[in-house]
Amino acid sequence: MTDVVKKRILIVDDAALVRTYYRSALEERGFEVEEALNGLEGLEKILLRAFDLVIVDINMPQMDGITFLRILRAKELPVSALPVLVTSTEAGPQDMATARSAGANHYLVKPIKQDALADYAAIFCGLRR
């Protein structure tokens, strides 16, 4: 990637392994990565810095991903338009519909291969592979 300014991605997931797994995939493709452990922490982070994409889990303590999305999308702030990719182990159509109506731009079912995740992140940011 030749961009001078790196695209920045926030990973919101309570599982440390998932965060590391995503991080290594994304950093390898030249993304700058930050982490948050739950929805609440995620909201704090996106208010402090500008991100190009948020990858968020659904099932998390303190604040789940759906609540995170609803709060994010409820406002008409510039930050409310942040693209959000939901990744979850839940594969039911109802789970996907719920995430979508909360404002998820895409929904991927875990486990996700590192390459696939990095591909989607690149597309979200308008970068060719």
């Binding site: 309570d14 599982a15 440390a16 392994l17 998932v18 590391t20 797994y21 290594s24 099932n59 303590p61 994010l72 999308r73 409820a74 406002k75 008409e76 409310s80 338009a81 942040l82 693209p83 959000v84 182990t89 594969a91 159509p93 109802q94 519909a97 979508r100 109506s101 404002g103 998820a104 731009n105 895409h106 929904y107 991927l108 079912v109 875990k110 486990p111 291969k113 696939a116 591909d119 989607y120 690149a122 597309i123 979200f124 940011c125 308008g126 970068l127 060719r128 592979r129």
Partner: protein
């Protein structure tokens, strides 16, 4: 993947510890919801971690435990002692696997069968069907290998079978290979000697010393049916995909799926369009189009996003994305080269208009072909024998090729009904939820193909019919119980090909149409005279529901009682050159059938000869 194993082990041990603490605390105090939540989350996270290191057996086992905890979590029930014990046993097994993984650095090889046993314990005692699945001796891990062959992503059923024929099979006059040959949907087969150590010289040629492992694309029920003649000699397992099929293919199709996801998001956001949804979908779509090398559509989508925001409506953006998806191919050569390096797409997206032009040209070719046939006949009447014979011969060839060409071109416009059918299960669930009924939607024949224009136009009419079926057709649970029917209603959505027609049927097992009421409403609304109504057969009376200004809703619900009624359905269907029929039986249900032409591009013409001139009469749907 190795780089993650270390962290996986550390984290998984922590999670197992956490889950054990939670479960033990629950044993003390079963009503502690916080502990229950915490235990559930630990199982959930463990399952996710197992997925990352490709430890499928562990993921399956924990998934089964998680399901049980999730069910308890969403109910008011207290967790039962035996459930606690099974969950703890599951954690014991997990710890043992983690230990083995620590030493070997890899997932244990026999984990598959251990996982099966554990899942069976968690899910409960095996039912009668599964009883024959007591493992046959030998060949451990065969199922795990079959799972590997099947992969994690597949559509449709997959069943793994291990069949060890009786050593005496040959003497008993049974033929194991004939049995194997009769298995449904054979995908892969492996035949091995039960005792591979035996040498060729000492082999007993009268004893059947083989075992067969097969992977089939059929459900276990069908496989079991094919193996009833060899009880106790088989193990049958239906495999389930670990995760739903997901586009794991190339970069471009990911970008397209992302675009499609934005459409889903926008369509779900309602007519007004939630501003932040519109903004984020617009941004995502623009980026996906840039990746696809479609700079012009990307600009259009960008403009449409601004318009959608200004107009407080998602529609301009939806249209722009749909358009971008419809326009085929990358924009210019340079970009095309760049993207073809990424990977050549297997399917081509072509503008509908271009295909229609092809269809039209083919149609004209067919007309021309017929004219040549006519010329050939004329010349043979005029006894220009040498020329006419050649002409007739060439015409026959031309006829065959043109007909084949026409069929091939029409097939381009064809889509399986699945593309419209798959939208309904969720909608039916939602509709039945709002009216307080439980309804199961069964779809059949979704592979049946029809013209794109017809498939696209079917959504609204079918939605209307399905709404009616759920809202008016299926009775309330109380009435169903009184009639001795199962509480859950069934609606079947069926597609099938019938000669030149595609038939789509919506069949419910509800109360049927109340024809007495239909007659009285028709009289009330002045649709027909009472005398005429009384003279009508039941079928004719049922047809009245399609009459303009008719609505059977006793109570106007917010679902189907919108006053448009079935008349709108008939109008839409007839506009496409189809017709609609209803059949109803009191107490047993109603079937509404749409007979649609297979293609909109073929027109039936009646020819008439008047004074030596041939005329063709078109039948144009009103």
């Amino acid at each position: 993947m190795n780089e993650f194993v270390e962290q996986f082990l550390i984290e998984s041990r922590e999670l197992v510890g956490q889950a054990i603490d939670d479960l033990l605390a629950l044993e003390e105090n079963p009503s502690d919801r916080e502990r229950l939540d915490s235990a559930f989350r630990a199982f959930h996270t463990l399952k996710g971690a197992a997925g990352i290191v490709d430890f499928a057996a562990m993921a399956r086992t924990l998934h089964a435990a998680e399901d049980i905890l999730a069910a308890i979590r969403s109910s008011e029930d207290l967790i039962a002692t035996n459930v606690l014990e099974e969950c703890l046993a599951c954690l014991d097994l997990t710890s043992r696997w983690l230990d083995e993984m620590q030493t070997s650095g890899e997932a244990p090889t026999n984990a598959g069968s251990e996982a099966d046993d554990m899942i069976a314990r968690l899910v409960g005692a095996p039912d009668a069907d599964e009883r024959e699945n007591t493992p046959l001796p030998g060949n451990e891990g065969w199922l795990e290998r079959a799972r590997e062959v099947a992969g994690q992503h597949f559509d449709g059923p997959r069943t793994a079978v291990r069949y060890v024929p009786d050593p005496e099979a040959f003497l008993q006059g049974s033929d194991p290979m004939a049995i194997v040959a009769a298995l449904p949907q054979l995908l892969k087969i492996e035949i091995a000697l039960t005792n591979s150590a035996v040498s060729l010289d000492s082999m007993d040629t009268f004893s059947c010393g083989i075992e067969i492992i097969a992977l089939l694309g059929a459900p276990a029920v069908d496989v079991r049916a094919a193996l009833t003649s060899v009880p106790g000699r088989t193990e049958i397992h239906e495999l389930s995909p670990l995760i739903v099929t997901q586009a794991e293919n190339d970069f471009q199709s990911k970008a397209i799926s992302l675009l499609e996801a934005q459409l889903l998001l926008l369509r779900g956001a309602g007519v007004g369009g939630i501003p932040s949804h519109v903004a984020s979908a617009g941004r995502t779509a623009v980026n996906a189009l840039v990746v696809l090398g479609k700079s012009e559509p990307a600009k259009n989508v960008e403009r449409a996003t601004a318009r959608a925001q200004a107009e407080h409506s998602a529609i301009p953006l939806i249209k722009a994305i749909e358009q971008a998806l419809a326009v085929g191919g990358p924009n210019n050569r340079e970009e095309q080269d760049a993207s073809s390096q990424i990977q050549a797409p297997r399917a081509l997206r072509v503008d509908m208009n271009r295909i229609d032009a092809l269809v039209k040209l083919t149609g004209e070719l067919v007309v021309l072909k017929n004219a040549i046939g006519h010329a050939a006949r004329l010349s043979s009447e005029n006894k220009e024998s040498a020329l006419s014979a050649t002409l007739r011969e060439q015409h026959t060839l031309f006829d065959r090729l043109a007909t084949e060409l026409q069929a091939a071109v029409l097939r381009i416009r064809v889509l399986p009904l699945r593309t419209v059918f798959r939208r309904f299960p969720r909608l039916v669930r939602e509709i039945s939820g709002t009216v307080g009924k439980t309804v199961r939607l069964v779809t059949e024949g979704e592979g049946t193909e029809a013209d794109t224009a017809i498939v696209d136009a079917l959504f609204e009419p079918l939605l209307h019919i399905l709404r009616n079926a759920v809202d008016h057709g299926i009775e309330s649970p109380e009435r169903r119980a009184a009639a001795g029917k199962p509480a859950m209603g069934t609606v079947i959505l069926r597609g099938r090909r019938d000669a030149d027609s595609v038939v789509i049927e919506v069949e419910d097992d509800g109360g049927g149409i109340d024809l007495t009421r239909v007659r009285s409403i028709a009289a009330e609304r002045g649709i027909a005279e009472l005398a005429v109504l009384e003279a009508m057969t039941d079928n004719e009376a049922a047809d009245l529901i399609f009459a303009p200004g008719f609505s059977t809703a006793a109570a106007v619900t917010d679902l189907s009682g919108r006053g448009i009624g079935m008349n709108a359905v008939r109008t839409a269907v007839e506009r496409l050159g189809g017709r609609v029929e209803v059949q109803t039986q009191s107490g047993a249900g109603t079937t509404i059938a749409l007979y649609m032409p297979f293609s909109l591009m073929v027109t039936r013409v009646m020819t008439v000869e008047v004074a030596g001139q041939v005329f063709g009469l078109l039948s144009i749907p009103s």
